[in-house]
């Protein structure tokens, strides 16, 4: 290993902090923060997956929440049948089985939808991935047996040898290690020959085709890999929340995920992790600010308004503001951060 660059140091310190802080939160009796970091890390895994497409393939997918949802239902559905019977071929608490199911289902969904969506470019691609994401949403919504709109509680978490995901700290560590592995996979992938073709097609597709690359195939493989990583994140999310509902697949979730990736910057290993951290931070801070306003207004109005739930208002304004007033928009931010 050579000398670390500045970005390398930031990455190392940030990741070390993520490794050390949650156990400290746990031992000092602040489980809320353990939950918060777990959610952060799980979202970061999905963001790493999306980053392969968005940052290195230039393919703006607006349907990645579907993969997260598929991964989560791959935990919930087998567990449901293991508890309540029926569908014997799928009923299982076995974590490896559920994980395999999550990966296979999300990869298959990516393969089929990607094969169609990648025939188009730009806005078309964005709208079509969005539509397919919503298709998955309606699919789970219509499955009354798994609660439909109301969702499904996972009574038993995935069972794995030697470790128990019921322990919040264990679950966190599994998620953390997964994140590190995902970051490593992404780093290896984008720098490989495959990654060079993907990046070349992002910069100039016509040139790559003229050189002899069938870029469609490369992009489709990238789409499947990206979707599977998001599906893996869904597997963890299902085990974390122990509650799954179609709401996880809603397109606004995909929008949030995209925002994280863009916010974090595209071309660094840490980018997506940074993005999801900032997102979680913004969410908590904005909720805090809205709560503070509430406290301020309470003596005047005489009751609490419960403003915390309205944190989307400042968040939305912030999004508009960033796009309008950060020079070159968010893409500019993305490019500048990349260099």
């Amino acid at each position: 290993m050579g000398r670390l660059s500045a970005i390398g140091w930031v990455t190392l310190v940030f990741m070390l902090a993520l490794a050390i802080l949650p156990p400290i939160f746990m031992w000092t009796g602040q489980p809320f923060y353990v939950d918060l970091t777990t959610r952060l890390v799980v979202l970061a895994i999905a963001a790493v997956g999306l980053n392969i497409l968005l940052g290195f393939g230039g393919l703006v997918s607006f349907g990645h929440a579907a993969f997260i949802g598929i991964g989560a239902y791959a935990v919930g559905i087998p567990a449901y049948h293991a508890t309540w019977g029926g569908m014997d071929f799928i009923a299982s608490y076995n974590g490896f089985f559920q994980l395999a199911l999550a990966l296979a289902a999300s990869a298959l969904f990516a393969l089929v939808t990607g094969a169609i969506a990648l025939r188009t470019k730009g806005v078309y691609f964005l709208m079509i991935t969005m539509a397919f994401g919503q298709m998955a949403y309606y699919f789970f919504l219509s499955l009354d047996i798994y609660g439909g709109d109301d969702g499904l509680t996972i009574d038993v978490r995935s069972e794995l040898p030697l470790i128990s995901l019921d322990n919040p700290l264990t679950l966190y560590l599994v998620a953390y290690v997964s994140l590190v592995v995902a970051m490593f996979i992404k780093h290896t992938l984008v720098n490989s020959r495959f990654g060079m073709v993907l990046q070349g097609a992002k910069g100039n597709n016509e040139r790559m085709v003229t050189l002899g690359f069938n870029t469609y195939k490369y992009q489709l493989v990238a789409y499947v890999i990206s979707g599977s990583i998001a599906g893996y994140a869904g597997f963890l999310l299902g085990n974390f929340t122990t509650f799954i509902s179609p709401d996880m697949l809603d397109w606004t979730r995909s929008g949030e995920l995209m925002f994280m990736v863009i916010l974090g910057g595209a071309s660094t290993v840490l980018g997506p992790v940074l993005g999801s951290s900032i997102f979680i931070l913004i969410e908590e801070v904005l909720k805090g600010v809205m709560g503070w306003f509430d406290g301020l207004l309470e003596p005047l109005i005489g009751r609490e308004l419960g403003l915390e739930v309205y944190w989307h208002l400042p968040f939305g304004l912030m999004l508009i503001f960033v796009v309008l007033f950060v020079r070159g928009g968010l893409m500019g931010l993305l490019k500048r951060r990349g260099k």
């Binding site: 060079m196 016509e206 050189l211 002899g212 493989v221």
Partner: protein
């Protein structure tokens, strides 16, 4: 000599406009074959059909004895046809060396290789460096493509064509936008390729064409009105009349 590329009765029209009108010509292995013609003669449309970016309405394109009329662009590139673009077409967000290395990589079989870092693969780098050295861009190998000048971009196009080890290079106005000195250098360089590579050269710069070409075809309104050696073309009455504008 054998025909490397054979075009037979190629036709293409857009709406009512015939851009390629019954074009037939052969390019023999090792020759530099130039296509000249006034603006709007359909030169770029012809190149687009040869490399697979456009589908002809009728006619056939044969390369190394195989009918490639309906092959996709990437498949033709694999067979050994490369093109440079009239308007510079490079991956601006990548380094000069990465751009050229991708051309080498393209000839290396498929690139579904996920593990080894591409920038650490020696033969890709070495061959790309060699091409860059040939066109005189070695010093700029690690610069970002977008930072290079127009002239250097034109040189990169040539380096990429070289690196792809293509048997047939379709050079679409490689001199476009170059100064007299840069053009002179490029002509000198292309001369050194004579006999080693087959080149189909589309060019406006008559001095360059007559200095380089073994044979010249003249394209006017989508039709080939004459094909021959530079001397034959110079003395051809039809060409003088229709193209060079002399009475």
């Amino acid at each position: 000599m054998v025909a490397l590329l054979k075009i037979d009765a190629l036709c293409k029209s857009f709406g009512g406009v015939t851009a390629t009108d019954d074009v037939s010509l052969t390019v023999e292995a090792g020759e530099i074959h130039a296509i000249i013609g006034p603006n709007g003669a359909g030169k770029t449309t012809l190149v687009a059909q040869l490399c697979g970016a456009l589908k002809p309405d009728s006619g056939t394109v044969t390369f190394k004895g195989a009918n490639i009329t309906n092959r996709a662009a990437h498949a033709r590139a694999r067979l050994g046809i490369t093109r440079s673009f009239q308007i510079t077409s490079l991956v601006m967000s990548m380094s000069v060396l990465d751009n050229v290395a991708l051309a080498v990589q393209a000839q290396d079989g498929h690139s579904f290789r996920f593990l080894k870092p591409a920038r650490k693969i020696k033969h890709l780098r070495d061959e790309a460096m060699e091409s860059l050295r040939m066109v005189g861009l070695r010093r700029r190998a690690n610069d970002l493509t977008s930072e290079l000048s127009h002239g250097e971009h034109r040189q990169m196009e040539i380096a990429i064509a070289l690196a792809s080890r293509a048997q047939l290079m379709l050079l679409d106005e490689p001199m476009a936008g170059l100064g007299p000195e840069e053009s002179g250098n490029l002509v000198t360089f292309l001369k050194t390729l004579k006999g080693e590579r087959t080149i189909l050269l589309i060019e406006h710069d008559m001095d360059a064409v007559f200095a380089l070409a073994d044979r010249i075809s003249v394209l006017v309104y989508g039709r080939i009105i004459a094909t021959g050696t530079p001397d034959e073309i110079r003395s051809n009455d039809d060409v003088r009349h229709a193209y060079l504008g002399e009475e």
